[in-house]
Structures are given as structure tokens and as C-alpha cells.
Amino acid sequence: MAIAEINVTLKPALLDVQGKTVLKALHQLGHTSVQNVRIGKFITLEISDALAGPALQQELDRMCQQLLANPVIENYEIVITATPGSQPGLAVTAPAPAMAVTSPLLNP
């Protein structure tokens, strides 16, 4: 079983209001060395072994573009790791670049 960890982040050009609020709160708590906070989503997928290699990467890309991220405002990054315990050394890291590929349905 593969595990994919997906970080969905707000595009850098967008103001992260929630992050700003958290930054303020951290400062109020005395954590003044924090200079910036951005808040995104951390999605973990468990995927059956049926999928692997480039096909897996491709399918994950599609999931992100279709559903898991909104290309108008978000970027995403995919990290595929093996199932915990099984050959941890094999972890494959494949950060996808900021993508805004639109699917057919998005712009009919």
C-alpha cells in the first residue's frame, strides 16, 4: 500500500487571512520570532498497490486537479511514501510544481 501526502497551499499572491490571524495570536502568546504563517491543507491518501510508479503519480495529479485543490487559488505538492514500516528507504519524493491546469469541465 502506498501513502500519498498532499500539501495544498494558497497561491503566494493571495493574502492568507487565517494565517495572519494565527500570526497575531502567536505574537500575543510571546512567539515573536515567527514572521509569517500560511495555512493550507494536509491530505493523506492510502492507495492500494494496484497503482504504482508514474501511473500513480499521474493519477494523484488528476485527483488534485479535479478535486483536491482549486487551481484558481491553490497550489499542491504530492509526496508518495511507502506504507509505514515497509521499506521506508524507498520513499519517493515528487513535488509537483504549482499547477493550474484546467479540466474540461472547468471551462466548458
Binding site: Q18, L67, V72, P108
Partner: protein, 256 residues
């Protein structure tokens, strides 16, 4: 006129919209389950408010894959009117039928209150019964209504007359203080380029009856039923615009 009102699992304003269509406007309407794909019986579609699929992940993200959405897109391609209210607006944006996206309110809280809106453009079926600069009063009830589109898109929308409503104060001024959710340019409602798909965060169906204290929302539904007037000058109906009032209590109690 026959309205189709789309029901996704988690939608919760479908009955309110049906009430207005049938009991206030005297039209016919039917609630359409999200797996239905034949929409040919309808003259207009309403995507009502609510929390389709719980709004989980992102508002509208899952709903836009419902089978009915392809039919909604085709319906729109035919030039027939489609209005998305609140969650319906979010679904239309996710589906790419309207530009932009809706994010969490800047204040991080859900906001429920009556809010003034300024009419930006009336050269469309939806707001043809109003005049630019009119103030309309309607409830806003959302946690993720902060509208965003990138600067280029916004420019196009401005020049294309696609920005229809902005949040304003009771003087009709569009100010930061009168922005309830951090929307770019105080945008409350936008339209597609072909002028038949309209999405807005405020709830016109909750402002369509005197007993609720305000009837400004009805102008939008009535507009959808009216053939587009050749020019923007609509004098006879102009008197009913901007009638938003704060009389939410007992406005219709007659003194002896």
C-alpha cells in the same frame, strides 16, 4: 415560468426557493435531485444555498461532480437563466460556470445579517428591474463568501459588465467597513460573459416577502421572468427598487 431547483445532498434552501417560486411569485417549480440529468422541462434553474456534501474539503468542490452539473452546463449553453445563491454560487464557481472562487470569510466566522448591496450593472436579465447605484437589502448567511478572482480576470469582468452587486453601507457607498467577508472589490454577485448565469452570496429568496421585512430579492426573480428590456432605462419599475427597509419587526402590524 417553470423553475428547476437543484437539490444536492446537504443543500438546505431548496424549500425556501420553492416557496418563493410557487407561493410568492405564483409560478411553478420542482425540486430536482442531483442525479437527474434531464432538465429540458425547465425555463430557469436555481442552485440554492446550503452545504452541499457538507461543504467538506471546499465549498462546492464535490457537488460540481454531481451528474446534474453537466446538464446545468448544457442548460446554460442554451442561454437559459441560471442563478446560484450562496452555496449555489460556490458550486457554479467550482464548476467553472462562473469565474473566481469563494474563500473563508476574512473574519473567520460565519456571518448572518441583513446587508446592503449596490447594483453595479442592470444590463442583464437578473437586475433589469433595478438601476445602477440602487441599494438592495438582503440577508447574507455564509462562512465562505470571500470572493476572489485574479486581477486580469477582474479587469475583464469589469469591462464585460459581469460584476453585478457589491456590498455597500446604508448610504450606498462601497467601503472597506461595508465589506462583510473580505471579498475583493466588495463583490457580492457576478455573472458569466453570456449574461445568463448569475451567482451571488446574499439570499434573495429570504428577502421576497413583506412579512420578512424586505422584498428586494423579488426584483431578481421577477427579472428572470421578464424578457430583457432593450435598454437599461426601465422607468415604470424603478419605483420599486431600493425599497430595502429595516422594518423587520411588526412592519405590517396595523395600529388601531
Amino acid at each position: 415560468m417553470h423553475f428547476g431547483i437543484i437539490l444536492f445532498p446537504g443543500t438546505n434552501c431548496e424549500r425556501d426557493c420553492l416557496h418563493v417560486v410557487q407561493n410568492v411569485m405564483g409560478q411553478t417549480g420542482r425540486i430536482v435531485w442531483h442525479t437527474q440529468t434531464d432538465l429540458s422541462e425547465f425555463d430557469a434553474l436555481i442552485l440554492p444555498g446550503g452545504f452541499a456534501h457538507g461543504d467538506y474539503l471546499r465549498t462546492g468542490a464535490i457537488a460540481r461532480f454531481s451528474p446534474v452539473m453537466e446538464s446545468v452546463a448544457e442548460f446554460a449553453l442554451l442561454g437559459k437563466p441560471v442563478i446560484g445563491i450562496c452555496n449555489g454560487f460556490q458550486v457554479l464557481c467550482e464548476a467553472g460556470l462562473l469565474p473566481g472562487a469563494l474563500r473563508r470569510n476574512a473574519g473567520q466566522h460565519f456571518v448572518c445579517k441583513n446587508h446592503w448591496l449596490r447594483v453595479e450593472d442592470n444590463r442583464n436579465i437578473f437586475l433589469q428591474l433595478t438601476n445602477p447605484g440602487d441599494r438592495l437589502l438582503m440577508p447574507i448567511r455564509h462562512g465562505e463568501g470571500s470572493y476572489y478572482a485574479d486581477p486580469d480576470t477582474l479587469l475583464e469582468m469589469e469591462s464585460g459588465g459581469q460584476i453585478l452587486l457589491r456590498y455597500c453601507d446604508d448610504d450606498g457607498d462601497v467601503t472597506d467597513a461595508a465589506n462583510p467577508n473580505g471579498s475583493v472589490g466588495n463583490i457580492a454577485g457576478v455573472m458569466n460573459t453570456t449574461g445568463n448565469v448569475f451567482g451571488l452570496m446574499p439570499h434573495p429568496e429570504a428577502a421576497s416577502e413583506p412579512i420578512l421585512g424586505c422584498t428586494d430579492g423579488l426584483l431578481i426573480f421577477r427579472g428572470m421572468m421578464t424578457l430583457l428590456a432593450p435598454t437599461t432605462a426601465l422607468t415604470s419599475d424603478a419605483t420599486v427598487t431600493g425599497v430595502g427597509s429595516n422594518m423587520f419587526i411588526a412592519s405590517d402590524v396595523s395600529a388601531p
